[in-house]
Structures are given as structure tokens and as C-alpha cells.
Amino acid sequence: MTIKTKSLTDGMEIEHTVGNVFADDPKMSMRNVDVFYNDKQAIKNVSIDLARNQVTALIGPSGCGKSTFLRCLNRMNDTIDICKIKGSLLLDGEDIYHKKMDPVLLRARVGMVFQKPNPFPKSIYDNVAYGPRIHGLAASKDDLDEIVVTSLQKAGLYKEVKDRLSSSGTGLSGGQQQRLCIARTIAVSPEIILMDEPASALDPIATAIIEELIDELKEKYTIAIVTHSMQQAARISQTTAYFHMGSLIEVGSTDHIFTNPSHQLTENYITGRFG
């Protein structure tokens, strides 16, 4: 399959956004992305890179479009009829909205973890094995076993569930369920993992475990995470992007954003002032 690749920055102006949206080694680069729900514009001219093997945090007040933007990255918004997307979204230089790009393949390459832990009502084993099964990643039963075990190990869940792989995934605690969902995503060996507030439904200890896990995962995967917790963004991300009313206000290194943000809106948001 040959997909026309585009140069990353030619002839495109980055408006509004403060800070450097360009990464040295981008895994994904989005340029001038607009998203519409019918006539309502949810994302306005957003350009940003996801740096390879880094955690990029998307923060902003509710309804600012950060989740919508995240869902564009693996075409989850395709399922919404009224959603229209403009602009260029490149994964390793390939346009992910090109008509030759199969969304099923894209979603295998760009995995997603959701806000609410949503394991399938199946056994723990089947939950993890589902992705490899539908994509035919395992040649034999032993292969599949190995994929399941390594995925659970990477998600830091294996020790807790190794004796009950055949029991239901919905019987686990919230934090374990979320790690099961992460294991399920890893099992397909994606290149990018998108996380939509993965810890918002969890207690602080489960959150800490997930955060530690994300920190380890960035060695192998490129991660984009939407979070409402600014402390969480500060703890786990290398780059932070602040969204406001559908616009990308500021992008910068997390250290910079959390000590000395350049834009007043960013400052107001992260210090808890009136926006």
C-alpha cells in the first residue's frame, strides 16, 4: 500500500498556539486540524506533534475539545455521522484520513484506553486475547498464551491475576480493570497509545500504579493522554498541550508549562484562576 506522504510543515502557518508545536522526531504530526459537529466547530485549527516515545498530555477545561482531538487520532470519531474532520493528520508521514487508510488497521496501530474501565464481559484471558485473535497475530495457541502473559506482565497485572485468567474481567477492581484494558491494548502491539482520562475513575493508589505504568510504557510506545488532573499531567508527561474552547493555546515542555507558562490562559487554568 502506498500512501502519499506529505512534508510536515510546508506552507502551513501555525496560528494562535504559543510555544513550539514541532517535535524533533514526531511519531504523529497534526496540522491545521478542524473538527465540526454539524455546523459547530469543536476543534479550531490545531497543529501539534506527538514526539516519539514520549508522553504528551492534553489538558484543558471540560468541553475544550481535547477528548475530541484525541479521538481523531485513531478515527474513533468515524462512528459519529455528524463529525467532519479537516486538516492533515500524519502517522509516520502517512495521512490517516486518506481513503486508502483502513481505520481497522489504523486502530491496531493506534490503540486507545478509555476513561471508564471497559473490559469485555469475558474472561481475563479472552479480554487480552481478543485483539490478537481478530487481527490473527498469533500463529498457535502457545503464541497466543505468550502474548497474553507478556501483555499482562507489561501492564503490571500478571502477578495479581495469573491464577484466575479464566475468571471474568469485570470481576476485577477498577484499577485492575483499567490495567486489563491497557494490557488488552498492548496485546495488539500498537505504536501509539491514546488514553482518555485513564485514571479519572480510580483511587489515588490505583492512579499511581497506572501512572507508573505509563512512565514505563513510554520506552516502547508513543503516548498521548487526556487528563483533568494537572498534577497527573505534570507527573507523567514530557510535553503538555493546553486546549481552550477548541483551540490549542499553548504547547511546551511540561516543566515549562507548569513553572512558567507563556500564555495567560494557560497560567490561569493551571493555577486555578478564573479563565
Binding site: R107, A108, V113, N118, G131, H135
Partner: protein, 447 residues
């Protein structure tokens, strides 16, 4: 300073007192609210008890009426297989008659004469006819069966239990005084029955014929087997047509179809279809299936198709509701892993929606099970004696059978009607239990 303090305290007191008065007011209204709630609960309990009472009365009524139908009276008669009576030629006992001769033998006369032998005092023609009326006319067929099966019986005298006539049956089941006339039994017949009864020649047995026979003009011979077979065949057709079509329609409409004016219109039409009087479907069946496609009249195939049309909207509506109730997070999880729409639908949505779909299907089937009106139009409301064995045989169904029996003049059919209703209810219960079983199985699988 002290002044300030005082006013401050005053303000505090006022606040306090106003708070107290608020509490009082709430207390007062609380009383009202509590009694209202109590009344409401009482109403609810009354409504439920009323419902239960009505159901209990219904069941008690049907049960007591149906009970007699499950038993029948049999009379012991000494049958003499007399070759002359049987008019078998030659009358020589040494020669074995061939099958043809046996078939043509006069069994009716044999039964009559055997019976007259038991009551030698009866000579009048009218009395003889009355005596004969004590036995079901099936008696001659029974001895024919016996003889053809075993020709050695010829010339012998055997005590046989023969089925009593429905009038006799009703007489024994009623509140009768021995030897006195009651209902369609006159005094003489009552006397003979008393004699028989006293000599132990009358017996009450479980009515197996009810389950093994088809419909008959004779109440003591009428059974539900034909109607039950017809019902089962029809239900198989209904299930085979409406379940796959209904579920796939629901899946398509919920999961795949774009939301536009067309799908809106389809949705409205499906809802309207559920409210169409069932007889209209019967007309459709008559006009299209029988007249245009030339399918056989009275067949369970046609009945099943017509009832399927009636059941479809129910199944589609219930399935759609059940599919809608599947949490979106499950779909997202599967899509996020790269499952195709088809995989999401078949591997995640359908299994999770299955319990609800099954419930809807059972409701639809139960509806179809109790329906007579559309069948009226396609000729399934008919007197059918043969047990249907395939989908094109002429058949009838349980509710039709009940309707036909309820219409019959013989008093014995009253009990049969109730018994058939009981069987229909039992059929429904079995269907419901199997649905519950399947449901719990799916739910277990689903977790």
C-alpha cells in the same frame, strides 16, 4: 459593647427560633407526606392482591372445570367373538378367516349382542337402543383391532374394558344418585349403570386419549394431539422466520443504518405495524400466500408465515431496545482494538443484547400462540381429525381447538375446553422457562 453583644444574641435567638419553626413546619408536612406514602403503598398492595386474586380465581375455575376431562369411565363388557354375530363366512371354527373377511366382519352387531347377553331381561327395541348408548361407538373399532391383531380370539368369550359414552361419563362425574335419572341418562339407563357399577364393571381411569387423539365429534374420543402438533409446527415456522429476520433487522437499524428520514420512517412504520389488528395479517395471508403463491390452505406453513408477520414488530422493537441498552463503552473498546463493525456487532453487541432479545421473542411467540383471528382467514379454524405431520398438512392450533370445543353443544366438551386451556398455559410456561434458562445461560456467558 454590651449593647452590641445583646443585639447579637437577639439576632442569634431569632435565627434559632426561626429555625425551630422551620423544623416544626417540616415535621407537620412530614406527617402528611408519610401518610400519603402509606396510602400509596396500600394502593399498590391492593392492586397487586387484586391481580393475584383474579389470576387465582381464573386458575381455580379452569382447574376445577378441567379436572374431569383428565379422567374417563370404562365399562367391562363380556364380548363373545361369535362367528355368526360377526357374520364371518364360513362359520366353521376350523377354518382361519383371511384378513379381508376380518375387515368386513360386523363388529357392531357383536358388541350389541354381547351387551344384550349381559342384560337378558331387556327385550324392547327402545331399551336395547338405550342400552347400546351406554358405550362409546369406538367399542366396535377396539374389538376389530383386537381380532385383526389376534384372529385366535374368534369363538372365545373375553372380558373387555370398553370406553363409556360421554353421557355416561358425564353422569358418573356429576352429582348423581344411584339408579336415578340425571342429565341425558334416563331412569332405565341409570338402573343398568347401577347394576354395572355394583358389579364392579365400571372404572374411572386417567384419560390418555385426550393426549393421543385428535379432534372428534364424540367428546369421549376428542383429544388435543392434532392441535398441539399444529401449534408446535406453526411455532417452529414463526420462530424460524421472525427470530432471524427480526434480530437482523434490529441489528441493522441500530448498528449500521444511517440516521436519516428513511430510517425514521421505517421506525415509525415498524411501531405502527405492531399496532395493526391481527386479522389484517390473516387477510394478507389469504390474499398473497394462498391466492397468489398458491400455498395450501389450512397449512401450518401459511399460519406460521402470517403469525411471523404479526410477531416481527414485537421482536424488532424489543431487540432494538435491548441493543440500545448495550453500553457504548463496549463498542468503543472493541472498535479501539481494531474490530470491524461486523465483529463489534456479532461478537459484543449481540451476545450482550441476547437476553433482552430472547425476552422479546418469547413475548412475540406467546402472542402468536394465543392468536386465532388471522388463522380464521387462512382456513386454520377447521375441524381437522388427522394429526399434521409436516408443514403443509391441514392443521389447527390450540386456541382454535379451544374455540371450537367451547362452541360445541355436548356438555363433556366444556371440561375439554378447560383442559385444553390448561395445556396451552402449560405450553406457555414451558416456553417461558426455556427462555429464562437460555437467558441465564447467555448472561452467564456474558460475564
Amino acid at each position: 459593647m454590651t449593647n452590641q453583644l445583646k443585639t447579637g444574641q437577639k439576632a442569634l435567638n431569632m435565627n434559632d427560633s426561626s429555625m425551630h419553626s422551620n423544623t416544626d413546619r417540616i415535621k407537620k408536612s412530614l406527617k402528611k407526606r408519610n401518610s400519603k406514602e402509606k396510602r400509596f403503598r396500600l394502593w399498590g398492595r391492593l392492586a397487586i392482591s387484586f391481580g393475584f386474586l383474579m389470576v387465582a380465581i381464573l386458575f381455580a375455575d379452569i382447574g376445577t372445570k378441567a379436572y374431569p376431562a383428565f379422567f374417563q369411565h370404562w365399562i367391562k363388557v363380556d364380548i363373545e367373538f361369535n362367528r355368526q354375530w360377526l357374520s364371518i363366512e364360513p362359520s366353521d371354527s376350523a377354518v382361519r378367516p383371511d384378513m379381508q373377511a376380518l375387515k368386513q366382519a360386523n363388529y357392531s352387531a357383536t358388541v350389541k349382542k354381547s351387551l344384550y347377553q349381559m342384560f337378558p331381561s331387556i327385550t324392547a327395541r327402545g331399551d336395547k337402543r338405550d342400552l347400546m348408548k351406554l358405550l362409546s361407538y369406538s367399542a366396535e373399532f377396539k374389538i376389530e383391532d383386537l381380532v385383526t391383531a389376534n384372529p385366535d380370539l374368534l369363538g372365545q368369550r373375553v372380558s373387555l374394558w370398553l370406553l363409556a359414552d360421554d353421557d355416561v361419563d358425564s353422569y358418573f362425574k356429576s352429582d348423581f344418585t344411584a339408579g336415578q335419572s340425571s342429565g341425558r341418562i334416563n331412569d332405565k339407563q341409570a338402573m343398568w349403570l347401577k347394576q354395572l357399577f355394583d358389579s364392579g364393571a365400571v372404572e374411572k381411569r386417567f384419560n390418555t386419549l385426550f393426549f393421543t387423539n385428535s379432534d372428534s365429534r364424540e367428546p369421549e374420543l376428542a383429544g388435543i394431539r392434532g392441535a398441539l402438533s399444529g401449534t408446535i409446527l406453526t411455532m417452529i415456522i414463526v420462530l424460524a422466520i421472525s427470530f432471524p429476520i427480526g434480530v437482523s433487522a434490529a441489528l441493522y437499524l441500530e448498528e449500521f443504518a444511517p440516521k436519516n428520514r428513511w430510517t425514521d420512517m421505517i421506525e415509525v412504520n415498524i411501531n405502527n405495524l405492531a399496532a395493526v389488528p391481527s386479522i389484517v395479517f390473516g387477510l394478507l395471508g389469504l390474499a398473497v400466500l394462498i391466492n397468489i403463491f398458491g400455498l395450501p390452505r389450512s397449512a401450518s406453513l401459511v399460519g406460521g408465515i402470517v403469525l411471523s408477520l404479526m410477531t416481527l414488530p414485537t421482536i424488532i422493537i424489543a431487540s432494538r431496545a435491548s441493543i440500545k441498552a448495550v453500553p457504548n463503552s463496549i463498542r468503543e473498546a472493541a472498535i479501539g482494538l481494531g474490530a470491524s463493525d461486523m465483529q463489534v456487532t456479532l461478537e459484543h453487541v449481540l451476545p450482550m443484547a441476547m437476553p433482552g432479545i430472547l425476552t422479546g421473542t418469547i413475548i412475540g411467540l406467546a402472542q402468536a400462540l394465543g392468536e386465532t383471528a388471522p388463522l380464521l382467514m387462512i382456513g386454520m379454524v377447521a375441524f381437522i381429525v388427522d394429526v399434521p405431520t409436516n408443514f403443509t398438512d391441514a392443521a389447527t392450533v390450540m386456541p382454535v381447538q379451544i374455540y371450537l370445543w367451547a362452541d360445541s353443544p355436548e356438555s363433556a366438551f366444556l371440561a375439554k375446553t378447560s383442559a385444553a386451556i390448561l395445556v396451552l398455559l402449560a405450553f406457555l410456561l414451558i416456553m417461558n422457562f426455556s427462555a429464562t434458562f437460555l437467558r441465564s445461560k447467555f448472561e452467564k456467558n456474558g460475564q
